[in-house]
Amino acid sequence: MTFSPKLEEKFAALLTHYPEGRQRGALIPMLLYAQDEVGAITPELVEEVAKRCGVTPLQVDEVVGYYSMLHRKPLGKYHIQVCTNISCMLVGGEELFEHACKKLGIGHKQVTPDGLFSLEEVECMGACSWAPAIQIGYEFHHKVTPEKLDELIEALRKIQ
């Protein structure tokens, strides 16, 4: 299995970032960056990353199971994460999540039938002072109202 030239370059550098013989250190960054390109942690990906980091596929599997951002099934093209933790909850985070469910017709960790959107209720994302906050992919949106969320979703539907 190979990755894009850009990612291959990144991985080659990454393996030099850890002390000699401790290349396992690159495992989690490699998994996350590879997932971004491939779309999910597939069995082939596990094999490949295991080989590169000098560990067994089983050791990779247990790591994949632990971290909430690593997932074995593909998400929607646009992954919408709504924070409902305490600071967001106080200013409407839960209502925002419910609104997102209705708007997209899906629930927590589900994907729309066209594969365009997925939704996740997430824990604090480090935007508490600008709550309620969401992330679409890696992009932050602050002080999100239901109306603003609708606009964001409609805009993404247009570009697909």
Binding site: V55, A127, C128
Partner: protein, 432 residues
């Protein structure tokens, strides 16, 4: 980018470059005294650097408030092993969003702080561990690191002084527990974020089993100012034993939520009313979580106090990570307790039974209480269960889950009773 208006009451030390054009670039940094502290540190002995940090009364901004200079002093400098620096940028404590703005607006300040720490203990490598959700910050940091290499502030023979140091970013992938220092080190080594038994502490056996300085982003970011202007000047900004300023993250029911840099010891009520513009909608203040969701809650009448580690400890809470969550009179405290518990239950790594089972049962009990299915002894059961977790877990996450619960039940018991009264006769024995 700044996400909220600054306040005129701020004292800008760590945030002094915020708002400057291209504040993250090395050119802006160099034009505003950047890397001057590093040059100064090169002319100091390691002991002098550590002394200066001790004089500053800087205490760790990650949560526990341990004196930073003392921590650095624990690293065995004559050990034959390489020494490492690890920056904790996992920032996942609910209510906390300050490390994010520090990296976004002034990444070189962090690099300089790390370099000074490296000089103090003779470290050769460092990693900045950044939570996976902060991908754009990793890009900002990587760019700053590349600039620092290109200008001779990282790499071989730094500033021609014969000192070598390499610095990298390392991404997390979604796990609150990886903010706990020993779990973070496991994660850095490519493993699940399950904590290590201590001792040995990271200073002696940290990253890759080598002596390691591990501090929070804000802690390292304070170091250049301390070396540049002197530890005594930094100390003088705060209160005794609580040096300097810190970034407070105001959130919840305030008119002007935001991240504000204020002197240690700033009065909490003043922070809410004058910096935060008061409680939203002119409502009455009900409660405040003073330092991230792990901290015991304060009732409104307990909030007239200076925000420093010792005053908060005296009030039986904690200054924690600087996340000040403000709640007005409309806040449903049972709901708040439940939401906080849901988080800890989700994030428990599952290693120890009191934490894994305790958080799970507390979540169930709080859920049925909130949904109006509670039974008459649930309130005491919740309090007992939480108290029985205290001190019986491998890492402080167990306490972090129990403490807010205990304080909410104790201080707002009448709200639990009201929910019960409204739901009398519901499911008596079965907890689902």
């Amino acid at each position: 980018m700044l996400y909220n208006e600054p306040s005129p009451l701020e004292v800008r030390v760590l945030t002094r470059r915020f708002g400057l054009p291209n504040s993250a670039s090395i050119d802006t940094y160099l034009a505003t005294d950047g890397y001057k502290a590093l040059e100064k540190a090169f002319d100091m002995t390691p002991d002098e650097i550590i002394e200066e940090v001790k004089t500053s009364n800087l205490r760790g901004r990650g949560g526990a408030g341990f004196p930073t200079g003392m921590k650095w002093g624990f690293v065995p400098r004559n050990s034959p092993k390489p020494k490492y620096i690890v920056v904790n940028g996992d920032e996942s404590e609910p209510g906390t969003c300050k490390d994010r703005v520090l990296i976004e607006n002034d990444p070189h300040q962090l690099i300089e702080g790390v370099l000074i720490a490296a000089l103090a203990v003779g470290a050769s490598r460092g990693w900045i561990y950044i939570r996976g959700e902060y991908r754009y910050l990793i890009e900002i940091m990587d760019k700053a690191i590349a600039e620092a290499y290109a200008r001779g502030y990282l790499g071989k023979n730094i500033l021609g002084r014969g000192f070598d140091f390499d610095l990298y970013t390392h991404t997390g992938a979604g796990a609150y527990e990886c903010g706990e220092e020993s779990a973070l080190l496991e994660s850095l080594e490519g493993k699940r974020g399950v904590p290590r038994i201590r001792p040995p502490f990271p200073a002696v056996s940290g990253a890759f089993q080598c002596p390691t300085i591990l501090n929070n982003v804000e802690t390292f970011s304070a170091v250049p100012a301390i070396i540049r202007d002197g530890g005594a000047a930094f100390a003088a900004l705060g209160t005794p034993k609580n040096g300097g300023t810190r970034l407070f993250c105001l959130s919840g029911h305030v008119n002007k939520p935001g991240v504000y840099e204020l002197p240690m010891g700033f009065n909490l009520l003043r922070m809410i009313n004058e910096v935060g513009g008061g409680v939203r909608g002119g409502r009455a203040l009900k409660a405040v979580i003073p330092g991230g969701s792990s901290c015991p809650i304060l009732k409104a009448e307990e909030c007239d106090l200076p925000m420093d580690y010792d005053s908060l400890a005296k009030a039986k809470s904690m200054l924690g990570s600087g996340g000040v969550v403000v709640m007005d009179e409309t806040t449903d405290m049972v709901k708040a307790a439940l939401r906080i518990m849901k988080f800890y239950q989700h994030e428990s790594c599952g290693w120890c039974i009191p934490c894994r089972e305790g958080t799970t049962w507390l979540k169930k009990l709080l859920t049925r209480m909130d949904e109006g299915r509670g039974s008459s002894n649930d309130i005491d059961l919740i309090a007992d269960l939480a108290k029985n977790m205290l001190g019986r877990t491998f890492c402080p996450l167990g306490d972090a889950a129990a403490l807010p619960t205990i304080s909410i039940v104790e201080k707002f018991r009448e709200e639990f009773e009201a929910k019960l009264a409204a739901s009398r006769g519901q499911s008596k024995f079965v907890v689902v």
